[in-house]
């Protein structure tokens, strides 16, 4: 039985889909069998990020609705051996799937894969409840902005209420300079409020956008800083203790101590 990890945030546009894709590619690149489930039904984009849009025949709701078998709907990634995607339907609305159906689906996928990563829609409505229904663990993504952290806090509360304890935090689009100038929340400020373990910090990096537009993932770009950050997160998900990377390009390591793996 593999483990099911949901990537969630509350606020939209903070990097859930980017994180899901990079963790999937990163884990698969290390030889793991990984399935990504796009639970952002009606607003799919994981397939676009992975450059798999043109291969979709069946989608998630076809599987839960019994119109095809799971194997038929899973799309093999073109770059990455071992990585599969279960795409979201573009047309049907979020109520087309129930939390119970999602739970069953996640269990079925986890039979075949070591890691199942679920990309969650923004918000706290039914789409969110569906996405977390089958999860064993949760990753909460935020950016260092007050509004995003507030939404992350809300989500952590809801995850706790749904018995998904100890979610792990990814801080995305981190800009060292802005934090220095006190224009952005620091890692310490964020952890102080959210009081959860930090899984990693991903710097703001235009390479993310460049890769995305090519249907690739930064995690495979050896030179990019965001890619390094995602590779570190992958290691931590595997339970390895990797120190936080140097976020300031000119030296000075963060004094942060609460970095922890998912295991």
């Amino acid at each position: 039985m593999g483990e099911v990890i949901v990537v969630t945030s509350g606020k939209g546009g903070v990097g859930k889909t980017t994180t899901t894709a990079n963790l999937g590619v990163g884990l698969a690149a290390l030889g793991h069998k990984v399935a990504l489930i796009d639970a952002d039904i009606g607003l799919r984009n994981l397939d676009v990020l992975l450059g798999l849009e043109n291969r979709i025949v069946y989608d998630l709701t076809d599987v839960t609705g019994g119109r095809c078998r799971l194997k038929q709907a899973l799309i093999k990634d073109k770059h990455c051996e071992g990585l599969h995607l279960l795409p979201a339907s573009q047309t049907k609305d979020k109520t087309a799937v129930s939390p119970e159906e999602m739970k069953k689906l996640c269990q079925d996928v986890a039979q075949e894969f070591e890691y199942v990563i679920v990309d969650c829609p923004a918000g706290i409505e039914q789409g969110f409840r569906n996405a977390i229904a089958g999860a064993d663990k949760a990753i909460v993504v935020t950016t260092p902005e007050v509004a995003a952290v507030r939404d992350a806090d809300r989500i952590i509360g809801l995850l706790e209420a749904a018995e998904l304890r100890n979610p792990k935090l990814v801080i995305n689009r981190f800009r060292y300079k802005m934090v220095q100038q006190k224009d952005m929340m620091s890692i310490e400020d964020i952890i102080d409020i959210l009081a959860v373990d930090l899984l990693g910090v991903v710097p703001e990096d235009e390479q993310v956008v460049v890769s995305t537009n090519k249907g690739e993932s930064v995690v495979q770009d050896e030179r990019s800083r965001s890619g390094q950050a995602f590779r570190n997160i992958v290691q931590r998900i595997k339970g390895e203790a990797v120190p936080l990377m140097n976020l300031n390009q000119n030296g000075m390591l963060s004094k942060l101590r609460r970095i922890i793996g998912l295991k």
Binding site: V146, R150, D151, D153, R154, I156, G157, L158, E160, A161, D192, I193, A195
Partner: protein, 139 residues
């Protein structure tokens, strides 16, 4: 506000609410052993003691006193049914808004509120006053 406090509503899940409600210190005081996160509210017709933080976007409304063994960054309202003797005490008092009875206050926009020590807010000479907490109990 007054009638709201009576209802003892909260957005916490039913199960946790009953856990909290079974955590009486005395018949008039509840103990909340968790941090209140954004969107979570506790309304109680008595005193509330919180072992955790009150985060931005969280709200505690009590007819009596509010004591927070942690950071207050959300909204707190003590004496919600009109008790002007009610107080709010916290390890770190940095509320978005603090109310006692019908008095509503917020931290000054320029200044950074609160030092790194416990403080008490109460009504003194008709205004909400925040002072360092002293164990002697002197008000």
């Amino acid at each position: 506000m007054a009638s709201e406090a009576k209802k003892e509503t909260t957005s916490l899940p039913e199960k946790e609410l009953s856990e909290i409600k079974s955590n009486f210190i005395d018949s008039n005081t509840i103990l909340v052993q968790r941090t209140l996160r954004a969107g979570q509210k506790i309304h109680f017709n008595g005193n509330v003691v919180i072992l955790g933080d009150v985060n931005p976007g969280a709200e505690v409304v009590a007819a009596g006193n509010i004591i927070v063994m942690g950071n207050v960054r959300g909204v707190v309202h003590a004496g919600a049914e009109g008790n002007t003797q009610a107080m709010v005490m916290a390890f770190r008092l940095q509320p978005i808004q603090l109310r006692i009875a019908s008095h509503i206050t917020r931290p000054p926009d320029e200044e950074e509120m609160s030092g790194a020590y416990p403080e008490v807010a109460h009504i003194k000479d008709g205004v909400v006053t925040i002072e360092a907490f002293s164990a002697s109990g002197e008000r």
